[in-house]
Symmetry: C2
Subunit: 348 residues, 2 copies
């Protein structure tokens, strides 16, 4: 690869529009001097935006896409009729090898469908997963799957562990991430057949991860492990329950601080600190989700991401591309398959 | 029933010990003039505690139980060897009809096993469930199951809806509670087969509830519905994820307020308000869990409940007994069974 690391960007996907995307890229080039961009979308909007940013001139290319996927479009509709959209073009540019990673803040279901159709799944992985980065008492952890699948077999949970471990390696720089499977208790006999079987496979495996065993819901925020593995049904509900709870606590705090003149005064004096807290709880500053298990790296920025949020998602994408995450996933998955085949021979 | 409403109490169950239980009952008698108690446990500890409280003298009876279930005891062990424990006696007193409701702050798994063994399941209900009351932006909602079962069929989800609706009627006084099934999206086609089939049965039913359809994880804290129905695996993880998130936000808040002299000053001035917030997020002030679906009302106070928390759990127990919750569950379950039978006849 002689060209610089290239990010394929759906410039029309998010609620904040292409202006926020361009502002995000100005942040990105401050942090990464050797990255370039291909922006897909309406060139009548994009070209004037870029023309005003001389720093991006030599590093960002516009490719015109007349269509746009809306948040309401069904994935099946986009697959049939969405070939002219900025989202479709974004993924095709990754598929063709013109880019190393793709990013969109658009409709999650459509992006997953277009990505699966365009890129296909890594050999040996049964289904892709969506991973997110959660804040914890210790820093951050990865949770997956948070919604690509509504059920997960033991083999899929093992796939998710492999993909999560590779993601933790890529974005946290950990040589040997700790991995736990989400369950209703930490003891080995707890939970359903799927989680117990997956835990047994991971316990017996020889992967570059420290398998912790089972973790519970409160271990996510505690930061007990680097990677929390679960099925997409439970993971989606855990993610949204956490979001809802954080908003509830924020609302309680505002109510409490408004209750008396004294508490209002205290809030005014501590407003800088409360602002810091608000930023920490704000989804715009978070990374969105990452699609793992596809033959290509796709990052889903939050639909309401502003320039800060989009730039953070671009950072994640660059980290993943640099760490060659998919090579690690393939190697680890093959190792598990070989161990499993070896174990079967041993039983004869 | 000529005797007063009687609460059978495991006085040895919680971490705070029998002293907290006696303090809790002093609160209860201020709110309920016509309730009496049977306390099970070590009479050498209990009798002196009660002797110091003349207000409880005529209303609280001690029944000696030499044994005690620990938090580490396995349910199967307690079933085989726990017949001398305060927990066992507490449930037996409910079974015999000497009490109207039972309460314990002890080991949840053991309490469920002893309760199922002692009381049996309501006719027509397939499995009991554990329900908890969550705080919401609008007030409170009920979530069940949070851990009695690790899977749930469509019929069980329907049972949980019936039991949750009866619980909301009993403790919130609602004639027609709103009920939602927890899912990964609000649209009818979302989720797995179980939640879709359960939703169809509830949509077609004629129960005293307003069936809302599907709700998502963040709808719990939003208070979108009065009752959130889910399987025990997902419910347990949602509950603990919410607890963990609330603690995380609290920790962020403390960190933020310590960061500068000004923010520390603000925190001191607003300390009353911050104290109010802390109380709202404190599990001691919450109700613990309620076992639904058994032939008898069993309330599980939080293991670390202090007098305030235990008194709150006793209040919930009294509300449930007064509302005759089990009669409502039986009636509603029979109605669904009859509708289902009628529908099958209609298909012939």
């Amino acid at each position: 690869m002689t060209r610089a690391l290239t990010v394929s960007i759906d410039a029309m996907g998010g609620e904040a529009g292409p202006g926020a995307v361009v502002s995000a890229l100005l942040k990105t080039i401050q942090r990464h001097s050797d990255v370039q961009f291909i922006l897909h979308g309406d060139e009548a909007q994009l070209k004037p935006l870029l023309a005003r940013q001389p720093k991006l001139k030599d590093r960002a290319l516009v490719r015109h896409a007349p269509g746009k996927v809306s948040m309401e479009d069904k994935p099946s509709h986009v697959l049939r009729r969405g070939k002219d959209t900025s989202m479709w073009h974004t993924i095709q540019t990754l598929k063709s090898g013109d880019a190393d990673v793709a990013i969109s803040a658009g409709n999650t279901g459509a992006l997953m469908a277009v990505s699966m159709f365009g890129l296909g799944i890594i050999d040996g992985i049964s289904r892709p997963a969506i991973a997110v980065i959660f804040p914890t008492l210790k820093g951050q952890c990865i949770v997956l799957d948070v919604g690509a699948n509504v059920t997960a077999s033991e083999e899929q949970l093992v796939d998710f562990a492999v993909m999560g471990e590779a993601f933790a390696h890529a974005v946290f720089g950990l040589a040997r991430p700790t991995v736990g499977i989400l369950n209703v208790g930490a003891e080995e006999q707890k939970g359903n057949d799927g989680v117990r079987a997956a835990a047994q496979i991971l316990r017996d495996s020889n992967l570059p991860m420290a398998f912790h065993g089972f973790v519970e819901g409160d271990d996510i925020a505690k930061g007990t492990v680097d990677v929390v593995v679960t099925d997409g049904f439970t993971g989606n509900i855990a993610l949204k329950t956490a979001e809802g709870t954080a908003k509830l606590v924020g609302s309680y705090l505002r109510q409490a601080l408004k209750r008396s003149l004294l508490s209002k005064l205290g809030a005014v004096i501590a407003s800088g600190a409360l602002q810091t807290l608000r930023r920490k709880l704000d989804p715009r500053t978070q990374n969105g989700g990452v699609f793992l298990g596809l033959n290509g790296i796709v990052v889903k920025a939050h639909g309401s991401a502003d320039a800060v949020g989009f730039a953070s998602a671009v950072d994640t994408a660059i980290d993943m591309a640099r760490a060659d995450i998919n090579a690690r996933i393939s190697t680890d998955r093959s190792a598990i398959a070989a161990e499993s085949a070896g174990a079967k021979v041993g039983e004869l």
